[in-house]
Structures are given as C-alpha cells and as structure tokens.
C-alpha cells in the first residue's frame, strides 16, 4: 500500500542530502571535538562550521548558538536556566530600585503582594508545547515562580495587549511559541518582542527576557533574531528534515543562564557533554536547506494545504481549527464532530494515511489537546480533532486521495456514534 505520511508536525523524514553530509562523521571523522589530535580537530572544525551556518541563518553571532539534545532540552534550559540565573539578579535589582527611588515617583516599584515580591514572574501562553509548559508548571508548583498563562483567541493568537497588561517589574521571562504544533497558528513574535523592548526601555530594566520556541516555524518562516527581538530561541532538527535528538538554543550575548547539565564544560560551560558531531552537522545542513527553499516550498504547500482544507470542510459538521491565514503552510487541523479522533486516525491508517489527533483517547494522560481546548472548543470537539501536516513528499494526488476517503470514514464512525452535537455551538 502507498503510504501517505501527513504527520510532518510530529517529525519529518530526513532529507537524503542531510544524511549524506553527516556520513563522514560516524566512522571516518569520529573524534571528540575536545581532543587536540587531528581527528579531534577535524570534528571540532565541523562543529564550528555548523555553528557558523546556523548563526548566519539566524543573524546571530557564533557564540550565541548552543547545541543541545533537541527542542525539549532547549526549552527546559531556556525556562529553568533563566529563572534560576535571574532569580538573584532580579531580586537585587528590584530591591535596589524599590529601595533607592521611593521618592521620585518611578512607576511600578511597589509590588502587589508580599508573595510577588519574593518570586520571579514568568509569562507564557496556553498553547505552548509541553516542553515549555511543564517545566514552568513545575517551577510554579515548587514555589519558585509566579506564572501567568496568557489565553489565546479562537484562532489561537495571543493578544499583544494581554502581554503588556501582564508585564510587571518582577517579570523575568516571557516565553511564547513562534508557530503552534497542533493548529499551526503563527504568533506575532516580532510585535511581542517590540512590545517587550519598549517596556524594558520605559522601565529601565533588562527584564523580561523573551524566549520563543521556533521548532515548528524553522522550516517555514525566516528566523532572524534581530527582527524578532528575541533573546532566546529554540529550534531542532526533527521538524526540518534533519536528525532527531539535536537542537539549538540561541542565547543573546551577555545573558546569564544556569546550566542544567554540568560536566566537561562543553558549550561554554552551559551544556556539558561530548558534542553529537554528525547530528550537529546534519542540523546545520537541514536548516540551510529548508531556509534556502523556503519560498518555493511554502508556495507549493500552501496550495496543497488549502486544497485539503477546502475538500475536508465540505464534510458536514466540521470545524476548522487555527488561524485561516497566519498559519504554517503545511498544517490543516479540523474537528469532525460526533466522532473520536483515535478511531478516525486508525481508519485512516488502514488506508495508508498517517495523521495525528488531539483526542483524549490517544494521549497517555487521557486529556484532550490543551491547544484545542485553549481556542475555546469543548472536549467533544477536541476529541474529534485531526491534524494533517504536509511535507516534502506530499503530492496533489495524496491530498485528493485523503479528500476522497475521508467522507466515508467519518460517515461510518458517525453511524456508530450516539453523539449528535448541535453545530450552533461551534460556529
């Protein structure tokens, strides 16, 4: 059976050109970059070159790129590392400001509650990846931070004015994802970045720092840290036809961050551990390739994406999830009412079509997708949400095949379902 892989947001297959450049570093040039002999030096050069490539594509500096084991580690490092490192700094800063200028009427120097006074404040959005949300919830639970989780609108967008309202002097970090992995909505990162810059200037403070998780965005959007006004940026190989288990954290020069892993002192002592040389080389190549072909591939995917969405939305009792235009070129997320997503996914699987669902039944925690719920949909609608994420291999024939088989599957599952939701609640 012909396999139609429409789960590129989960992970992409590797680009053969990426595999090729990685090849020498498995056996021939397999030195440890920390070794001073020739093979070690060759490996070190490869890492340096990869770092330069990535820095160039991000408009960053070489020493601002830190290699990690992937998106989850980068997100964790950004969140935990900044909170831990800034905790002392922000306290002394706030106290000196609060204590030093009580008479000159500087705004915002008094804290709302004694509790706030003690804790750094972090802001994030309700649709973040678990790799950001979970460490933050953990820090909140153990009493290390005060956390604000910003809501999103129906389309999954964070409102800039909500960011502004929630900012306070104790805010150390704002972490908002660039593009959402489930519904594909692209957040106004540059605008939020500008807002934060303005706030920092107005309040004469270096905080908050601004982090964005750009894993899903990296294959489709220009990532220029200057234009985006971000201080930290997470990106990985597994969504851009690169290797899995490798990622970067961009950390703007001068920012202090507390390591999660201590050891041999690699990566400027922030991330110890022998560099994964082949993966690092592959990541740089993959990033270069997707960025080079971005415009042509986006144009091709957008056509397919819209064709697929249009075809599927002809099925009665469906609801489109995500932003109609500010959305990744490869993402279609639709709720099919009255049916359960895991069942639909397996019926599609039997036809050779690989997709994913936000249904509770398909998650290990039995919780429906927090992203779909955050856009204001009910449990039932989250249960029936399916994500089709297109990629390099997707053709028009694939899309047409999905459009052809989907109505039958939905009809079949609806025949079996006792649920009959009224669409007036979803439009």
């Amino acid at each position: 059976m012909h396999t139609i892989y429409l789960d590129h947001a989960a992970t992409t297959p590797m680009d053969p050109r990426v595999v090729e450049v990685m090849q020498p570093y498995f056996i021939d040039v397999a030195g440890n970059p920390s070794s001073f002999h020739t093979v070690g030096l060759r490996a070190k050069e490869a890492v340096t070159e990869a770092r330069q490539t990535i820095a160039r594509l991000l408009s960053a500096r070489e020493d601002e790129i830190l290699f990690t084991s992937g998106g989850t580690e980068s997100d964790n490092l950004a969140v935990m590392g900044i909170v831990k490192a800034q905790r002392q700094a922000i306290l002394s800063f706030c106290h000196s400001r609060a204590g030093g200028n009580p008479s000159d009427g500087s705004p915002g120097l008094r804290f709302a509650t004694p509790e706030d006074d003690k804790k750094p404040h972090v802001m994030t959005s309700a649709i973040e990846h678990h790799a950001v949300l979970e460490p933050l919830l953990h820090l909140q639970k153990i009493g290390e931070i005060e956390l604000t989780v910003l809501p999103v609108n129906r389309e999954g967008l964070v409102a800039i004015k909500d960011v502004r309202t929630a900012l306070k002097l104790s805010t150390v970090l704002v972490s908002i994802m660039f593009a959402n992995n489930e519904i594909g909505t692209i957040e106004p990162i540059a605008d939020i970045g500008r807002e934060i810059l303005a706030w920092r200037k107005e309040h004469i403070t270096p905080y908050p720092l601004f982090h964005t998780d750009a894993c899903q965005a990296a294959g489709a959007i220009e990532l220029n840290v200057e234009k985006l006004h971000v201080d930290l940026l997470t990106m990985n190989g597994s969504k851009i036809y690169g290797p899995k288990g490798v990622g970067i954290l961009y950390i703007r020069r001068g920012i202090k961050i507390e390591p999660l892993m201590r050891g041999g002192g690699q990566e400027r002592n922030i991330r110890s551990g022998t560099e994964n040389v082949p993966a690092i080389v592959g990541l740089a190549k993959a990033f270069e390739l997707v960025q080079e072909n971005r415009e042509t591939e986006n144009a091709r995917l957008i056509k397919l994406r819209d064709r697929l969405a249009e075809g599927l939305l002809k099925i009665p009792k469906t609801r489109f999830n995500g932003h109609p235009t500010d959305r990744l070129p490869n993402c279609v997320n639709i709720s099919f009412m009255d049916i359960e997503g895991e069942a639909a996914m397996l019926y599609l699987d039997a036809q050779g079509i690989m997709i994913s669902t936000g249904s509770a039944c398909a998650s290990s925690s039995l919780d429906p997708s927090h992203v779909i719920l955050a856009t204001g949909l009910s449990y039932e609608a989250a249960h029936g949400s399916l994500r089709f994420s297109l990629g390099h291999s997707t053709t028009k024939e694939d899309v047409d095949f999905v459009i052809a088989v989907m109505p039958k599957i939905v009809e079949r599952l609806r025949q079996m379902s006792p649920v009959n939701l009224d669409m007036k609640y979803f439009n």
Binding site: P13, E340, C361, P368, Q415, M416, V419
Partner: protein, 227 residues
C-alpha cells in the same frame, strides 16, 4: 515514499498477558477485526424505540455509549437477551470491546439476565486477546451500559425489586468520595496513592481513610491490571 512494512504480529499484541512488559498500545488482531467490522451496532434508532435502553458516559475521556436490548423468554421460559445493539463515541478499544460484548451476550441462545449481570470486563478483554493497560477503562463501559439497560428492563416490566443501584460506599466522609470514585481513578491510570489523590483529593479532608484507600488501590489494581 516506500511502503512501510506492517508491524509484526508480536508487536501488535495487547499487553494484558504481561502488563509489566508494556508494548505500547497496539491492538490485537481480534480488536482490529471488531474495530474495522463492528458487530451489532445500531444504525438509526427508530426501530428500537421500544427496546430497553442503557446509557453511560466515561469521565475518563469523555466518551459515551448507548445500548439497546431485546429480552425474550426462551423455549425453557427463561428470559434471555436476544438482541444487543449499541452506539459508542470512543476509541478503537471502546468500539471493539462493545462489539465483542454484544457478541458474547447474544451468542448461542443469548445470555440469561443473571448470566449477563455476572459478565466482567476481564472476560471481554480475554476474548479480545488483551487490551493495553491504558485502554482498560474503555472495556468497562459496555459492561456498565449493559447493566443500565437491564435495569431499564426491570423498571419497565415492574420488577423494581431486582433493580441494582450501584451505590458507592463512602470512603472519605468529608469529601464524600466513594469506592467507585477510587475505582474510576485506578481505571484512568492512577496507580499510586499520590495519583489517586491528584484525581480525587481523597483523604485531604479526612486523612483517617487513607489506609482504606491504599487497600482499595491494591484491590482494583489487582482486579483490572493483575498487579
């Protein structure tokens, strides 16, 4: 893209045999068969308005199920379930276990009500060749819907004395948490006291019930997961 070779039969086995060696949540071939070719589901409810109706919803993942029964006296004068129709909103496991239950209840001449009431989710799971641990709670649904439909029959045939009301026994007197709530939590995957408390808050108001909660936890874990 190259066609993908299907997973080996072994990888598709449920893990009910060895819950410790969980192999993800792939389904057995029997589950797949009932999922792709469900037996006895009801398409259109008009003809079954007079049947005995049972309904349940699962708090775990928000699924729902309806069951319609026809009950007739057999040649021996005993009441038997001759028809079992259903509809379910749920995953592959919920669909397959309801389908299997409908077969088990109606095969041969049909079960007597006493026999049907004695059916346990484990028996359905066995016939299915096992379900992954985190899918066990779906297999309980059909069983509950069946009980609710049998109660409907007793109600409509004025045998109200036979109606079995599943009233939980109160464990936490302050928060009014019953043994059913604990059972529900275990089925949803809570396998430690902490996880049960996370779901139910049991014992936060009345810590004296905690030993009993731990006992129930062991009991239900053994009952549903064999560990």
């Amino acid at each position: 893209m190259n066609p993908i070779t299907p997973a080996t039969t072994d990888a598709r086995k449920g893990d009910v045999v060895a819950p410790t060696k969980e192999k993800g949540w792939f389904y057995t071939d029997t589950v797949k068969d009932h999922f792709f070719h469900p037996k006895n589901f009801l398409d259109g409810e008009e003809d079954y308005k007079d049947a005995y109706l049972g309904m349940v919803g699962s708090p775990a993942c928000g699924d729902a199920m309806k069951v319609w029964l026809r009950i007739n006296k057999g040649t021996d004068g005993v009441e038997r379930i001759t028809e079992f129709k259903w509809k379910t909103f749920g995953c592959a496991s919920a669909i397959a276990s309801t389908s299997m239950l409908s077969v088990m209840v109606t095969e041969n001449e049909g079960l007597t009500l006493e026999e049907a009431l004695k059916l346990r989710p484990q028996q359905i799971m066995e016939r299915l060749g096992g379900l992954p641990n985190r899918k066990v709670h779906c297999s309980v649904l059909g069983d509950k819907a069946l009980r609710s439909a049998i109660n409907d029959y007793y109600r409509k045939t004025e045998q109200t004395d036979k109606i079995i009301v599943e009233q939980g026994r109160i464990i936490d007197k302050v928060l009014k948490i019953t043994d059913h709530d604990i059972e529900e939590a275990v089925l949803e995957g809570a396998d430690t006291l902490e996880k049960i408390q996370h779901k139910t808050k049991v014992g936060t108001g009345d810590p004296s019930c905690i030993p009993e909660v731990e006992q129930l936890l062991r009991f239900y874990k053994e009952k549903y997961f064999g560990s």
